[in-house]
């Protein structure tokens, strides 16, 4: 009997133990398969599933004729998993000549065994990637990444801008239109085995990326190239520090060319300094000098403070408050009509007219022509220029502002001034992009440019005629801008450069801005040279203007057009308003007599 009960007890114990074990297993089963199944399913999925973001192809940037200025392609990025690299030094020694990197730097990257991923070289070309693969170094591999390329190199670099390593726009139109160009990235989910191979019958999901839209510019590649080449020659010939050239259609505001020097190659933008990458035509301001006299002239004629046939006594200097203004060269007192004042670019004659106008009215016209406010061109970082309110003008500022000192504008602003005159007094917002082109070639045009009337068409025509005299007149300062067979209107500018952060001036900016054909303006061209030698805009910038304008007219097939009467249609003063002193034509004004 004792034997039997002992055996029975042992039997019971075994049964209980087995039951307990089974209960534990059953409980675990319920836990794994039931209560916590979602967690384990997810855990298993993370072990098998590989989720990869598929980068979208960035849209291209095209010129107005459809030529590609910026495009995307696929390049290879070389990376390493240092844990699988058997010999970091040997690997670095083999990779260094192919990647063009110091072996020590590569050895440091390959030797960091705590890291599972390290970039060795981003976006290298196919032959380089093939050579790396041929080395067969364990732990070294390549993957595809999109790369931005600019086939025309430096052409329109400041307009295009550039993108960063992650393909996001960092400057220029690449930055401004980044949302449209970037597209939408896709995603791929696949199941892989422990060796990284895809499981054929495993889960697979693909959300394809959407390509970005193409951006169509107003830029004409050929004119852009001609502008850049002419600017480069001018900077070299006249030993200037740099410069800008712009070509614009006055009726639409479309910019056909925008060139700056110094420039850079967007394919390798890191090699250029920040200053070289800056689009000085839109971002940097300068004092326009005599080129600004067109506003003084338009304001005076529009306000009726002077007519085109009135004669002014113009000495070579003029005292205003604490400052004495001078003309560019000494001369006896001249008797000049207002068109002759503009033709000869007389500072004193212009200041005398401005004194009739008054600072409030001069300021009003400066503002109406766009000084002190953004043009609204679709470009990041545009500067509004500097125009202080008239109540803050110092006593001599009426004189300085009338001749284009003490006010600061961007080249695009002064271009808009001349485009307004060329366009019959209607200001048109400048633009660089004509639209974006979606998949299938559907174009979404850019919003129509805003417009506003600044001066009457008659006034604009008269000012245009005065600007023709600058080029064609016997004493005109812009004779080097003349184009055989065409009537050209324009104005020279030789402005002092203010010392940055200080008082006073140092150096000069030479410029010539004009349009053609003067009778039916189709193009406006502006040339601005920074510290040329000699300093005169009529000597340095005017020939460059001629070169660019001539090429552009020929390229676009623009004929000579109707001829405008030099000096403009007679525009008698319809009656002065405001606080100007009375003026008797043919005789020095009261104010003149005292000066």
């Amino acid at each position: 009997m004792p034997n039997t009960s002992s055996a029975a007890r042992r039997l019971v114990l075994v049964v209980v133990a087995m039951a307990a074990g089974l209960a534990v297993i059953a409980g675990r089963l319920v836990w794994v398969q039931g209560l916590a199944s979602d967690r384990y399913v997810a855990l298993a999925a993370t072990q098998r599933e590989r989720r990869a973001t598929l980068p979208a192809e960035r849209g291209s940037i095209l010129d107005r004729e459809g030529h590609t200025l910026a495009m995307s392609t696929m390049a290879h990025t070389i990376y390493a998993n240092p844990r699988f690299v058997p010999d970091a030094r040997a690997g670095a020694a083999a990779l260094a000549p192919v990647l063009g990197q110091p072996p020590e730097e590569l050895a440091g990257k390959l030797g960091s065994k705590k890291r599972g991923f390290v970039y060795l070289a981003r976006k290298v070309d196919d032959p380089t990637a093939a050579r790396i693969r041929a080395l067969g170094i364990p732990g070294i591999d390549a993957m595809r990444e999109p790369k931005r390329l600019y086939p025309a190199g430096q052409l329109a670099a400041h307009v295009l801008g550039f993108v960063g390593t992650d393909n996001a726009g960092l400057a220029g139109l690449e930055s401004y239109y980044d949302r449209q160009l970037a597209g939408r990235p896709g995603e791929m989910v696949i199941e892989r085995d422990p060796q990284g191979r895809s499981i054929p019958s495993g889960k697979s999901r693909l959300i394809p990326p959407s390509r970005g839209d193409d951006l169509v510019l107003t830029i004409d590649s050929d004119i852009q190239y001609a502008a850049e080449a002419a600017l480069s020659r001018a900077v070299e010939t006249f030993k200037a520090r740099g410069g800008s050239v712009l070509v614009m259609r006055p009726d639409t505001g479309e910019i056909l060319a925008l060139a700056n020097l110094p420039t850079f190659d967007p394919n390798n933008f890191g090699a250029a300094s920040g200053a070289d990458r800056r689009n000085r035509a839109l971002i940097e301001v300068y004092e326009p000098g005599s080129a600004n006299k067109v506003i003084t002239a338009a304001a005076a004629l529009e306000s009726g403070v002077i007519g085109t046939s009135e004669v002014l006594a113009v000495p070579d200097n003029l005292r205003m408050a604490s400052k004495t203004f001078h003309d560019s060269h000494p001369h006896p007192v001249l008797r000049l009509t207002f068109p002759e004042v503009i033709e000869q670019s007389s500072n004193i004659g212009t200041i005398k007219v401005a004194m009739r106008l008054g600072k409030e009215r001069l300021h009003e016209y400066l503002a109406r022509f766009g000084y002190g406010s953004l043009t609204g061109i679709a470009f990041p970082g545009e500067s509004p220029g500097l125009l202080t309110p008239p109540e803050r003008w110092w006593p001599t500022q009426l004189g300085t502002a009338a001749i284009g000192q003490s006010v600061a504008v961007t080249p695009i602003q002064i271009m808009s001034v001349y485009a307004t005159v060329a366009n019959g007094g209607m200001w048109v917002q400048p633009s660089l992009a004509s639209g974006v082109m979606g998949p299938g070639g559907t174009i979404h045009p850019a919003p129509a440019p805003s417009t506003r009337r600044v001066i009457r068409p008659e006034t604009a025509a008269t000012v245009a005629g005065m600007l023709v005299r600058v080029v064609e007149g016997e004493h005109g300062t812009g004779e080097k801008a003349a184009i055989p067979g065409y009537q050209v209107a324009g104005k020279t500018g030789t402005a002092q450069k203010p010392i940055p952060g200080g008082r006073g001036y140092s150096g000069y900016v030479g410029s010539f801005i004009g349009f053609a054909p003067a009778g039916d303006p189709k193009l406006v061209v502006g040339v601005i040279l920074d510290e040329p030698h000699p300093i005169w805009g009529g000597v340095t910038a005017a020939p460059t203007f001629k070169e660019v304008m001539q090429f552009s007219l020929r390229h676009l097939g623009i004929g000579p057009g109707p001829v405008l009467r030099p000096g403009g249609a007679p525009l008698p003063a319809p009656g002065r308003s405001g606080g100007a002193a009375p003026y008797v034509p043919g005789e020095p004004a009261a104010s003149d007599a005292t000066e």
């Binding site: 459809g66 392609t73 852009q224 174009i443 045009p445 129509a448």
Partner: protein, 186 residues
Amino acid sequence: MSIRPQRRERPKTPRSATKVGHLVVIPGGAGRGSLEAKPAEEPSGRGPSRAGLPRIGFEATPAASEATRPGLGFALICSLVVGVSILGLVVLNVLVAQSSFRLGDLKARVEEEQARSRRLHYEVSAGESPAKLAEAAQRLGLVIPEHQETLVGPPDPALSGRPSRRMEGILKVREKAGLPRAKRKS
């Protein structure tokens, strides 16, 4: 007094008897046939004596064919179906895997070809850039004319050339948007 289990006597089987399944075949049995059978397991004691055993007569027939065994045939068919199904699944799986790898290879090739196409596009774009064209023109001895003559007259459509289809689309949209048409090169 202890109770001892009674020894049960094992029924004696004739020496010449042969066991076939649960039957014992006794040669020389009664009947028209040649077999005499009795149950192999026969309870001892109380069972009927050998003499009183009812004789079961078996008729000798030809050996049963496979087809006449319904269980075996069914099993064979099932095995065949299962075997073929498994083989089919394996083959299908292999084919799917093969196709999947081939698809992967083709996708990689498509990517490579697309990348090649982009590279060629880039080379074409770079080659037709104004700087490259000017360089090539200079190599050929062409120069930019210093003087130009302009013939002014009614436009001749035959000389104007036609814009590309793509640019024609762009120009049409520009016209619809109220933007002016860019003039073509003369």
